[in-house]
């Protein structure tokens, strides 16, 4: 592994060694600036920083997850991303992608952790089960929690890849049998970047890691710890079908005429209006498409508890504590009906119970009417 080299190559050195040209490198820097939403003049800064910065050691841990984050990452737009970060250069430990295995792999990780204590970036893919002493996920004879705490201790920063590490994702859905826990609930004293999504967009992942590399600090984060550059807008607010929404043109079902015309998928359960992600602006698979463009609503995979937040194909979110079928409006209508019935009964009851007083008053007031001097 590369951490046995005494002199640490810069990112530029390694890129050139890979056989890329200077022109490729500049294109890559430009891509990265664009992903991060930076202006033109920052391209030079990224290039310069990649030329001068020795590569950051990265430990990439996999816990309860499906590796879709890694899959997404190695398919990001520019081949250098995968080459530089994952393949040969800076990845000191990743169960899935490293060449070494078994004791060798563990040794490489511990080497890095010791040698670059306080310097390396810890990337976490997957949630950590806390139930039954963490026995649901063990690697090399240690529970995920143990391994994570060990790796987190010397990390400069932690990146929580995907919804598993950020929110718990599907394995944390009710009843969460393994007590799958997102990492920010386990380690509190380290800067954590949450990059939710199932998986996150490859370019977003590249952008986040390149930001740390190029500028030596974390990107600007929102209150949930997500990079603002990618999670600052709702999918809905950047969606190309948004004009249909504002016009009131909606698909009612997936096979109706409106759906064919490409109208807004709001009524068939698109979660774009509640989901913060860059899908609509960056799109997927090198900018080819994204779910809504393919005619399927957003399922809100980058939002917390998206599995528990009601059906994917309905607009309404279910009310906690009620049967799955009921939504706020059904409950509301029934309650309003009961209330109206109660009011009617009360009105009848009032006239019966207070009849004496009422009759007296009506009688006297009728007399008053007769006595008017007109």
């Amino acid at each position: 592994m590369s951490n046995t080299n005494e002199k640490r190559d810069t990112y530029y050195d390694t890129i050139i060694k890979q056989g890329y040209t200077r022109r490729d490198f500049m294109k890559f820097s430009t891509y990265m600036a664009a992903f991060m939403g930076l202006e033109n003049s920052m391209v030079g800064q990224i290039a310069q920083s990649l030329e001068n910065t020795p590569r950051l050691p990265v430990i990439w841990e996999h816990y309860q997850e499906c590796t879709c984050c890694s899959e997404s990452f190695i398919r990001s737009n520019h081949p250098i991303v995968a080459d530089i970060i994952l393949d040969r250069i800076s990845l000191d430990y990743s169960l899935t992608l490293m060449a070494a295995s078994g004791h060798q792999a563990e040794a490489a990780k511990h080497d890095t952790m010791k040698k670059y204590y306080g310097e390396y970036i810890l990337c976490v893919e997957g949630s950590i089960p806390l139930g039954d002493d963490g026995n649901y996920c063990c690697i090399a004879g240690k529970s995920a929690k143990e391994t994570f705490l060990e790796a987190a201790a010397g990390a400069k920063a932690i990146i929580a890849w995907g919804s598993c590490a950020s929110n718990g994702c599907v394995q944390a859905a009710k009843p969460n049998p393994t007590e799958a826990t997102p990492i920010h609930k386990i380690v509190k004293n380290k800067p954590i970047i949450r990059v939710p999504g199932c998986p996150p967009i490859g370019e977003v992942m590249a952008g986040v890691i390149m930001h740390v590399v190029a500028f030596g600090r974390l990107p600007e984060l929102d209150r949930l710890g997500r990079p603002k550059a990618f999670y600052g807008k709702r999918v809905h607010d950047t969606c190309y079908r948004r004009p249909y929404y504002d016009a009131g043109l909606f698909a009612e079902t997936f096979d109706d005429d409106n759906s064919k015309k490409g109208y807004c998928l709001y009524k068939v359960g698109c979660k774009g209006p509640m989901t913060y992600n860059a899908c609509a602006s960056m799109r997927w698979n090198n900018g080819v498409s994204f779910p809504i463009q393919s005619g399927h609503g957003c399922i809100g995979c980058s939002e917390e508890d998206f599995w528990d937040n009601g059906p994917f194909y309905e607009r309404t979110t279910k009310v906690p504590g009620f049967a799955v079928e009921s939504n706020a409006d059904t409950v509301g209508k029934v309650a309003a009906g009961v209330l109206a019935g109660g009011i009617a009964l009360h009105a009848i009851g009032a006239n019966i119970s207070k009849r004496k007083e009422l009759m007296k008053r009506i009688k006297s007031d009728k007399k008053n009417e007769k006595n008017i001097d007109s």
Binding site: G248, A328, L339
Partner: protein, 242 residues
Amino acid sequence: MRDRNFKRVMVWELPVRLFHWVNVLAIVALTLTGFLIANPPALQSSAEATNLHSFGIVRFIHFGAAYIFFFNMILRIYWSFVGNQFAHWRAFWPFSKKMWNNFWHVLKIDIMLLNEEHPNVKDISIGHNSVASLSYVVLFLMALIQVFTGFALYADTSGWWLPQLFTWVTPLFGGDFMVRTIHHITMWIFIFFSLVHIYLVFYHDWLEGRGEVSSMFGGYKFVRSDRFIKHEKQAKKDKVKE
């Protein structure tokens, strides 16, 4: 015995009445557009999206009404410091013995519909009765929930600093999903409140016959003159002394 003398009393001052009706209009507009936003009817139109902005208008009305609702509420809070005794914040303060005595009385007489042998004129509230006051306190809290969740949902599409003040609400509930659900459920509480509120206004007007319904238009209620006797006696005494 039934021939009571009534005195006309200005109970709801003009700002209170204005607040009430602006609030009514805002809540009606917010609820109607809110339902439309939650479950919009799909237009069957051959027009291009470029030439249509119907749903945008619905949303615009919702946001506009929300601002009116919000600032109206602020003005009402201001008036609760300078207004008369019926508009004053003390009238809504639930932690006094008088308040709770009246609360049980209203519960017995108006909710459980029991009758009294010897009604005490002082038990008939001139402004809000205690149960009503409490319900307005609860409604005020509901309004706060709507303001906080509403502006939190709205903030991302606005550049103004005011909605930005509420951006911390969304992370509190983990995301827009929960905030939306809370916003939607709380709207139903407004509907339930309105049903009961309107019924009870008619109930009091019918059973007490002192202008409950019209009071929110003209501001006057009719108060039995024996409610004033003490003061008149006092006034006479004062005159004698002079």
